[in-house]
């Protein structure tokens, strides 16, 4: 085995271990801040795997989008509502955990089956390396144009939705109930905004 091949193997094993252990930590740790930071680590390790596959543009995009944007936003959300309160106890927690573990195991079994039964073309097509950036651009503006544009429309919808939900004060009526918006409710952050104003 040459030096290059063994280096690649060591890198792959290390990155794969980080991905698996980190992902388990994201799900299993009880401290949500640790989970969020571990998620960033998992994203970085996935970017490393892309690098090993000679897809440097995809790796850089992964870091920019997932680590730099998605994970930072998650952290923002956690830290802005960081009250350090214990979660309210949930009834039948062991049963719920058992059920979700069952669903996850089922999904995992499905994925393993797909991986085992699919006839993978090994070794795949030759890596195009540095030419990948141009090829991705070509595809995005020709045969993948529709999904690309649809993704941007989806993001726009999410953004408008977030603004409408967050800036209730610019609305004259409450979206949920149709009643006139009560400025007092907005100032009282503890009170839920979507209050049931009908007779109860």
């Amino acid at each position: 085995m040459t030096i290059a091949a063994s280096t690649q193997l060591i890198c792959f094993v290390a990155l794969a271990a980080v991905v698996v252990i980190g992902a388990l930590g994201v799900v299993l740790l009880s401290n949500i801040v640790y989970s969020a930071f571990l998620l960033g680590g998992v994203f970085l390790a996935v970017a490393g795997l892309y690098l090993l596959l000679n897809a440097s543009f995809v790796a850089a995009a992964q870091v920019l989008v997932y680590v730099g944007a998605v994970n930072v936003l998650i952290l923002f959300a956690i830290m802005l509502v960081n009250k350090r309160e214990d979660l309210a106890p949930i009834q039948g927690l062991p049963l719920r955990r058992l059920l979700s573990a069952g669903v996850c195991a089922g999904l995992f079994a499905l994925l393993v089956r797909v991986v085992v039964t699919t006839p993978w073309a090994v070794p795949g097509p030759a890596a195009i390396g540095e030419g990948a950036t141009e090829r991705i651009g070509e595809h995005l503006f020709t045969d993948y144009l529709l999904p690309f544009e649809l993704a941007s429309v989806l993001l726009l919808m999410a953004m408008i939705g977030a603004i409408v939900l967050a800036r209730r004060d610019v609305q004259s009526t409450d979206l949920g109930t149709g009643a006139a918006a009560d400025q007092g409710l907005i100032e009282k952050a503890r009170t839920p905004l979507l209050v049931d104003q009908g007779p109860s």
Binding site: F37, L51, A60, L64, V67, L75, F76
Partner: protein
């Protein structure tokens, strides 16, 4: 992935100085295999760039002290070495031997990891800074995009140290720092995109090559004046330099996310911010000021003197001039940044976000559109 100094020279350009080839040939003369020689070569350029980055920081710290003194009509450091040149070393030594305190109720692991996550991406970004045609660690195809994506990792380290300090000023500082660097990353990336559109490549080498045609006149700053200003403002904001140093605003937040840090961990933040400043200045000079190019093309000078560009001596002189020009341009920009720091007041957080989202972002989008239109209309001048 790492192809050190000079493996990926473009075919059109003469090979020039190939330090790697000479080094591995010399080692193979001692009976080593080519692979082992390559392995021995790999750490050398990285070490060199690391040392260059740290020395760059020392120089910048000295400049900051001296220039701020001059602005305030003081003398500044005077006793540590001639003109106080050893003062940054003394600063570093002080931080090195200082007690490393982790606050009692802080989160020890995240508290230690935070500064590391802030420094490592900045140092990694030096991978793509070219000092000459073949003088960079790695001519990766994604080039400048690598820098943009790496610099987006930094906010995580800031948030992490802000959270782990268990101090409200730290948390606020961390949140401000992350908000600031996310807001200014977008106009920054858009102004880089306009450059990339003109040079048809993300590689820093190609971006400089595209500016070498007619010396001073072919620099991107003439074709992208708006982009240049946007990039410089955003780079200052990313470095948290003074008009935009809200994350560590002393009057409001003690020292922001650095409040609880002492000793070497604080030194990492300090080092990180100065390396980032030097790196940003280097990238401005690469993207807009012709990188290693001399104001008059070296080829013309060699032609007037009747020398061949490929002669060994001319090659060595060209390489040296390239390094000197890159560093000179970068330090002129660092000087500008220091002057700005000591002469401008701090903006408020709402002004900062307004400037970023309501002014720079639309402006950089317009700049991108105009560049695209000009590229279609005048392909000769705008890299068609």
């Amino acid at each position: 992935m790492v192809t050190p100094f000079a493996t990926a020279a473009p075919a059109l350009v003469s090979p020039g100085l190939d330090l790697e080839l000479s080094f591995s040939e010399a080692l193979q003369g001692f009976g080593l295999s080519p692979q082992a020689a390559h392995l021995l070569w790999l750490p050398l350029p990285m070490l060199l760039v690391l040392v260059a980055a740290v020395v760059g920081v020392l120089v910048t710290v000295w400049l900051e002290r001296k220039i701020s003194a001059a602005v305030q009509q003081r003398i500044g450091p005077e006793y540590a070495g001639a003109l106080g040149v050893l003062q940054p070393l003394a600063d570093g030594l002080k931080l090195l031997v200082k007690e490393d305190v982790i606050p009692a109720r802080a989160d020890g692991l995240l508290f230690t990891l935070g500064p590391v996550l802030v420094v490592v991406p900045v140092i990694l970004s030096w991978l793509i800074v070219p000092f000459g045609q073949n003088l960079l660690i790695s001519n990766v195809g994604v080039g400048i995009f690598l820098w943009i994506s790496l610099s987006s990792v930094q906010p995580i380290g800031l948030l992490m140290s802000g959270y782990a300090s268990n101090n409200k000023y730290s948390l606020l500082g961390g949140l401000r720092a992350a908000a600031q660097s996310i807001s200014y990353e977008i106009p920054l990336a858009l102004s880089v995109l306009a450059i990339v559109m003109m040079s048809n490549s993300l590689s820093t080498i190609d971006i400089v090559d595209q500016q070498t045609g007619a010396g001073l006149l072919s620099w991107n700053v003439w074709r992208q004046p708006v982009g240049f200003l946007i990039f410089w403002i955003c780079a200052l904001a990313e470095c948290e330099r003074l008009p935009f140093d809200l994350p560590e605003a002393e009057e409001e937040l003690v020292a922001g996310y650095q409040t609880e840090y002492a000793g070497m961990k604080f030194a990492l933040f300090y080092l990180g911010s100065y390396i980032n400043l030097v790196l940003s200045a280097l990238l401005v000079s690469v993207l807009y000021l012709g990188g290693w190019g001399f104001p008059i093309p070296v080829e013309w000078l060699a032609g007037w003197l009747g020398q061949s560009v490929d002669a060994p001596l001319v090659q060595v002189i060209t390489g040296t001039v390239g390094i000197v020009m890159t560093v000179l341009k970068a330090y002129l920009l660092v000087f500008l940044a220091i002057l700005l720091r000591w002469t401008t007041p701090r903006v408020r957080i709402d002004q900062l976000l307004d400037l970023g989202w309501k002014f720079l972002l639309p402006l950089s989008l317009v700049n991108l559109l105009v560049t695209a239109a000009l590229k279609l209309a005048f392909p000769v001048a705008f890299g068609g």
